[in-house]
């Protein structure tokens, strides 16, 4: 069993599909940032493929914002390199920054300007050709659903609208790369859904890197997650794979009507591949059983047949770890370096 990938190279090596892998638009290599003796980001490497949405997940203070700022060229790294669409951010910052849209944690707005004036200014400093400035501003206003308020002063807008203006600003020059730092963290649930939908609508057009500490967001928006804690990458994978890998074994929960716990236990254990079972009487006529099997084996069909032939099979579902559990598991493990790796590698998923 291999350990969880610490670097992008490792992940790419383990998950490489031989043909048709899109080229990396963002390449981050060995990025380190020290503030005095404090190491905020430690030897961070990852790649983002064209059109991919990468989520950066970590507790507050894990180094997410510092990473975002280094990827956008605001903060110079202590060591390491960042390449945007083939342009090195340190040696060719102007070329790299032209291909970059960035929404910092607090949207960088001028409250005294109207949305239209503001976006025209951003288009100017992002080198949108003068002849295309108006259509670019109109397009960004349309994408962010700001049509009704386009001529209002930004200072008079609500927080949700301001966040959308921040997004419009990031896409006005149609950048290859979009970096969003906690795009929904300060919003109320309704605004959060609106902004989230907007980001989902942008996928495909841009390669997106976003950071968040809101877990459901990650599984809804992103293709792949980088979990960082204390400035280090502790896992890189898709949300589904992460959940599978951390489980260590498959779990199926069944509910059966009209049987006794002992009968269910016996029936389930007689199925090939079942490693263990935990049976409970859930109601007067209902028994629930948690069926465990080795990772990569699917016993659902056999278990269903074995039970349904004799009793009523009321429910059967695969259990997967929630992101909260994954997150706590990973960040908890990172606190004490354990000699034996508790995290199984993805190759044990068998034919998946």
């Amino acid at each position: 069993m291999k350990a969880t990938c610490q670097t992008a190279e490792c992940w790419t090596r383990q998950n490489r599909v031989p043909i048709g892998i899109p080229p990396a638009v963002i390449t981050v290599q060995h990025l380190t940032k020290r503030f005095g003796s404090h190491v905020a980001v430690n030897d961070l490497s990852f790649e983002v493929a064209s059109g991919e949405v990468l989520g950066f997940l970590g507790p507050n203070g894990a180094g997410k914002t510092t990473t975002m700022r280094m990827v956008t060229g605001y903060l110079p790294p202590t060591s390491g390199s960042v390449s945007i669409d083939g342009h090195d951010l340190l040696s060719h910052p102007i070329d790299a920054k032209r291909r970059l849209g960035y929404l910092p944690e607090n949207p960088p707005l001028y409250p005294e300007l109207t949305i239209r004036q503001y976006l025209a200014f951003v288009a100017d400093i992002k080198d949108v050709p003068r002849s295309r400035r108006r259509p670019a501003v109109d397009r960004a206003i349309g994408r962010a659903n700001l049509g009704e308020v386009a001529d209002r002063r930004i200072g008079t807008l609500s927080k949700g609208f301001k966040q959308r203006v921040g997004l419009a600003q990031a896409i006005v020059h149609e950048p290859a790369v979009l970096v969003l730092d906690e795009p929904t963290s300060s919003l109320d649930p309704k605004q959060r859904v609106e902004v989230r939908d907007l980001i989902v609508a942008l996928r495909g057009e841009h390669t997106v890197v976003l950071s968040t500490h809101i877990l459901p967001e990650v599984s809804q928006i992103t293709d792949r997650v980088v979990i960082i804690n204390r400035g280090r990458v502790i896992a890189v994978d898709s949300p589904d794979n992460l959940s599978q890998r951390l489980r260590g074994r498959e779990e199926v929960t069944v509910e059966v009507g009209g049987a006794t716990p002992a009968e269910v236990r016996q029936a389930v254990l007689s199925v090939a591949g079942v490693a263990g079972v935990l049976v409970e009487q859930a109601g007067s006529q209902v028994v629930t059983a948690r069926v465990e099997s080795a990772l990569g084996t699917d016993v659902r069909g056999d278990v269903a047949r074995a039970l349904a032939s004799r009793w009523q099979l009321l429910a059967l579902r695969s259990e997967s770890l929630s992101l909260e559990e994954i997150f706590l598991k990973l960040t908890g493990d990172a606190d004490r370096p354990s000699p034996e790796s508790p995290v199984p590698g993805p190759e044990s998923r068998g034919g998946a």
């Binding site: 060229g73 605001y74 960088p108 300007l113 200014f121 100017d124 400093i125």
Partner: protein, 261 residues
């Protein structure tokens, strides 16, 4: 160049949307007008005194002409008013970008720190030019009174513009150091007042130090322009201070990115 103009235009728009531009323009023209009319009145009083002396004695001990009495004093006073107004114009230039987080937008855009520096400088200088433009009607009144020399007026304005450029570049640099407007304004006042009045600390005894301190004084250089003297060393002095201020600003913008925040 497009970036410079975009940044300057954005700043000017903010100046005029906020009350800062109006407050600065109003204060400046009020103070200028007050000093100008005072000087004109005292000139007229002295002129009538001189007329009376000439009538009774055939000559007058008073040397009276518009350039020395009115214009020289006027331009020196304008320099002083400028000292009061410039820190208020420059205090927000970079301080506000830092405070609002918009510096993060500017520095992650394909904008060079030099372009940002020049754009900010240009916006403040445009506003200063507008302030001086408000004093142009005064010359209509002077022209009513008889002889006045356009050359001296031009020299006076050239001196004021150079003085303003030096002061604005210092204010711009100070504004890059803090996220607090009040700190920026007070810091700029500190530096500018020191440079403006440093000559008053020079004693009457002549020494190399007295010359040096005199050389540092904004007021001494501006006073020469105000008398109608356009000398190269005065131009180089202000241009040098301006270049130094802009250079420090550009370096300071680079340095902000290294700061932990």
């Amino acid at each position: 160049m497009r970036h410079v103009i975009a940044i300057a235009a954005r700043e000017l728009r903010s100046y005029f949307v906020s009350p800062i531009a109006y407050a600065a323009l109003t204060t400046f023209s009020l103070l200028s007008g007050f000093f100008f009319s005072n000087m004109l009145t005292s000139y007229v009083r002295q002129a009538s005194l001189a007329d009376g002396q000439i009538e009774r004695l055939g000559r007058s001990p008073l040397q009276l002409d518009v350039p020395t009495v009115v214009l020289a004093e006027f331009f020196k006073n304008e320099g002083f008013i400028l000292l009061l107004v410039v820190p208020l114009l420059t205090m927000g230039l970079l301080t506000d970008e830092r405070r609002k987080g918009t510096l993060e937008l500017l520095l992650t855009s394909p904008v060079r720190p030099t372009e940002l520096t020049l754009g900010k400088f240009l916006s403040a200088m445009t506003l200063v030019t507008a302030m001086f433009a408000l004093t142009l009607p005064y010359y209509y009144f002077l022209a009513q009174g008889g002889e006045w020399e356009p050359g001296i007026v031009l020299a006076g304005y050239a001196g004021l513009m150079l003085l303003a450029a030096a002061e604005v570049s210092i204010g711009l640099f100070v504004s890059s150091l803090s996220e607090n407007m009040l700190v920026s304004a007070l810091g700029t006042y500190g530096v500018l007042v020191a440079f403006y009045f440093v000559d008053t600390s020079a004693s009457a005894t002549r020494s190399i130090w007295v010359d040096f301190i005199q050389f540092l004084s904004f007021h001494v250089h501006n006073a020469e322009f105000a008398r109608g003297v356009v000398a190269l060393h005065n131009i180089t002095f202000f241009a040098g201070v301006m270049a130094m201020g802009l250079f420090l600003t550009q370096r300071s913008i680079e340095a902000i990115r290294f700061k932990r925040s």
